[in-house]
């Protein structure tokens, strides 16, 4: 490993930006805030590029020890940063996409009162995300992990005066806690069994252990617990419920945190822990199953959503499911590949959706959109590219990564593959449904309607010279917002070629060389190029089918979907209401918790035991004091008498002890 003293600058720069904006932003001009936020974030990106330029697939990892942190006996944790090929990919994605979204935010959030706050939070998020990515041990990673959770909470609840936003923030935080609980226990197990949290140490120790093929051992336990953490952070079944609600936050937040970077932290963590999972096939299988189910499940919910951001949110959950599927079948590099391309096109989708929302005055309901391609051609084009990318139409980015995943999944089991293909079909359907509903047909929004429904993104939108009385007709967004869209669109187009000829896999090979041995063998068996091309053809045609269906239903026969929905009845309602999962959780967990807290903990334990004991002890103290009060006569000599008597007792005790 090579020490690299510049490594720590990458996370610290956004932190400095956050600190400056956080402390001084209230009194600074917006230009200054913008400059600070962009400069520090951009510097981090630039630094990441510089580091990447000197880094190849054969490079030894960089590390930098910033400070000693914990020393407890033989156990020690240092504040260390670490950069290998895997971290580098994440680093570039986070800083690059993050920087673009920062630029976009300037246009999007310009008129918000909390502009400085927003920028400070965004920078803070960048700091924690980079800490997470660059951590050299699980504890530093955990700091980043919790920190991005904090930033996410702050940004979801950014418009905290709105009840739904505050509630969504809390929901995200609490659901994430459940996952973190698993993560923490996994860390404790590691400390207990390996005596260290350092990646290198742990993985070396793991590799000396046998593979836990039969039964459940310590590695399986650690792997499953890590997966619990990852499921929380990356919104997998059963902990995905927070992510759709998180769309209450500003759209750049949804793009950056809840699509491109933070939610992929779970994937990153699983990939990082590949050595552990490699020795725990059971845990791996669980990862694969959860990923697959989540992919399908979330995709079906996405069909019936009408909120543009909700559709994208479920799409994100679904795509994350793909990544976990990849990790679960041992194709870690494919998962990371998809993570990267997903960051490009999903970030782009959200930004474009934000542009749409921005352009029509805060409306998010797709039923009130339509025909927008005329008003906002750039948004339409870029979003179209992203849609093609996510549905896996060649040669766009999504095709390469998704195809890789499906192929590798097929190598593990055809069931994964089948579900993956079905999911791809559904994905294609709901994405093109979104496109047609938003951009196709005629504009259905209330152009001159005065009482506008300020939904989630109730940001100020008088930045384009409109008066207060309405939004007027839809319009294209300013170039500060379109610029990032275009760049991301380009990336969505060409990003996939990175993986051409397994180059991406080879690049990441040093990281996963210790892992994935089993899976790679399986992949080799399926490594017949005929089958590969066949599978490719199937998935592409499935995507085309989805497009066709969407075209038919939402462009040709716009009345049909309603009739289908009516005929499906209960099933449609179930899908539209997200299978009542939230309600189920409410009944299963939330309500019993509240009831139990109220009746048992509050009335019985708190009031009956704790309060009562406090009150009783106070009462007893008063009784005793009342009787002892007469001792405090105010007479100096009486006090002295007590002191003398006490001294005599002390002397007597000491003498007795000495004599005895």
């Amino acid at each position: 490993m090579t020490p690299n003293p510049y490594l720590w600058l990458v996370p610290i720069l956004p932190l400095a930006g956050a600190a400056i904006n956080g402390f001084f932003g209230r009194r600074s001009s917006k230009k200054a805030i913008t400059a600070v936020a962009l400069v520090f974030c951009g510097l981090a990106f630039f630094l990441a590029l510089v580091i990447a330029a000197g880094f190849s697939s054969s490079s030894a990892p960089y590390y930098f020890n910033l400070a000693h942190w914990i020393r407890a006996g033989s156990f020690s944790v240092d504040f260390e940063f670490y950069l290998d090929q895997l971290s580098l990919v994440m680093l570039l994605v986070v800083t690059g996409v993050g920087f673009l979204i920062h630029i976009y935010s300037v246009g999007y959030m310009w008129d918000d009162d909390g502009y400085y706050r927003f920028m400070a939070y965004m920078n803070l998020f960048m700091f924690f995300m980079l800490t997470l990515v660059l951590a050299k041990n699980y504890l530093v990673m955990f700091i980043g992990w919790e920190g991005v959770g904090l930033a996410s909470y702050l940004l979801i609840g950014f418009w905290f005066t709105k009840d739904s936003a505050a509630a969504a923030g809390k929901k995200a935080f609490i659901v994430n806690r459940i996952g973190d609980f698993g993560f923490l226990i996994a860390l404790f197990l590691m400390i207990k069994h390996f005596g260290s949290l350092d990646f290198t140490h742990v993985f070396t120790a793991v590799q000396s252990l046998p593979t836990e093929t039969a039964g459940v051992g310590i590695l399986t336990a650690i792997g499953l617990l890590l997966m619990v953490g990852a499921a929380g952070k990356s919104a997998q079944i059963p902990l995905y419920v927070w992510l759709p609600d998180a769309m209450e936050g500003p759209t750049p937040v949804s793009a950056l945190i809840h699509a491109a970077t933070m939610v992929t932290a779970g994937v990153y963590m699983v990939a990082r822990s590949s050595a552990i999972f490699d020795r725990a096939p059971t845990a791996m299988m669980v990862v694969a199953i959860i990923g697959t189910l989540t992919a399908l499940f979330a995709a079906t919910i996405g069909i019936a959503q009408t909120d543009i951001k909700k559709v994208l949110a479920y799409s994100t959950v679904s795509q994350l499911g793909y990544m976990f599927m990849a990790c679960g079948v041992g194709a870690f590099s494919a998962g990371i590949f998809h993570l990267m391309t997903h960051a490009f096109f999903k970030g782009l989708l959200f930004l474009a959706a934000g542009s749409v929302i921005h352009g029509i005055g805060g409306e998010q309901d797709m039923r009130k959109m339509g025909g927008l391609r005329v008003y906002m051609p750039w948004t339409f084009m870029t979003m179209g590219i992203a849609t093609l990318a996510i549905t896996g139409i060649p040669p766009f980015a999504g095709f390469w990564s998704k195809d890789e995943i499906l192929w590798r999944a097929f190598g593990a089991s055809w069931v994964y593959w089948l579900i993956g293909v079905v999911t791809a079909f559904i994905t294609s359907f709901y994405m093109f449904r979104l496109m047609y509903m938003t951009f196709g047909g005629e504009y259905r929004g209330a152009v001159a309607q005065k009482a506008m429904v300020h939904k989630a993104d109730a940001h100020g939108h008088d930045d384009h010279g409109h008066d207060d009385h309405g939004h007027g007709e839809p319009h294209e967004s300013p170039w500060v917002m379109l610029g990032p869209l275009v760049i991301l669109a380009v990336l969505s187009v060409v990003g996939g070629f990175v993986g051409y000829g397994n180059r991406f896999e080879h690049f990441l090979a040093p990281v996963f060389q210790g892992a994935g041995a089993v899976a790679r063998e399986g992949a080799r068996e399926a490594g017949d190029s005929t089958i590969e091309y066949l599978l490719m053809a199937v998935s592409v045609s499935v995507a085309g089918l989805g497009w066709l269906l969407a075209y038919l239903l939402y462009s040709r026969l716009p009345q049909l979907p309603a009739r289908i929905a009516a005929s499906l009845g209960g099933l449609y309602r179930a899908v539209a209401n997200k299978y009542y999962i939230d309600e189920l959780y409410a009944v299963l967990f939330v309500k019993p918790l509240i009831e139990g807290s109220t009746t048992i903990l509050w009335h019985d334990v708190d009031q009956g035991v704790i309060d009562a004991s406090v009150n009783e002890s106070a009462h007893a103290a008063r009784e005793v004091s009342d009787s002892l009060r007469h001792m405090q006569s105010g007479n100096l000599r009486s006090y002295a008498g007590w002191v003398a008597a006490g001294g005599a007792v002390a002397i007597a005790y000491m003498v007795w002890m000495g004599v005895r």
């Binding site: 007479n635 100096l636 008498g641």
Partner: protein, 101 residues
């Protein structure tokens, strides 16, 4: 003929006990204050005796410090007594048992 250390210590103890008794039975606040000085003197004697016993001059230095503190204490204490006398017009501690005037 040499004196056992215990004789010095007993003498010091007698002085100390006399001081405590004075604190307990005297009513005049100045006399009570003098009883405190008597206690300090008793302790000083044991310091010097121990210093001689253990051949450590630190004991005598401690006595020096005790004296310094006693002097400071006497200055402040007597000033307080004067202030008390000015407001209560009595030196009897039994009559100075209320916080308010």
């Amino acid at each position: 003929m040499e004196i056992p250390l215990s004789c010095y210590l007993v003498l010091s103890g007698i002085l100390f006990v006399c001081g405590v008794l004075g604190f307990l039975i005297k009513r005049n606040i100045i006399t009570i204050f003098m009883s405190i000085e008597l206690m300090l003197n008793g302790v000083n004697l044991s310091f010097v005796a121990f210093a001689a016993q253990w051949h450590a001059l630190s004991g005598q230095v401690f006595v020096f410090f005790v004296m310094v503190v006693a002097a400071a204490e006497a200055a402040v204490g007597l000033a307080i007594i004067i202030a008390v006398y000015r407001t209560r017009e009595t030196l009897n501690v039994d009559r100075v048992n209320l916080l308010k005037l």
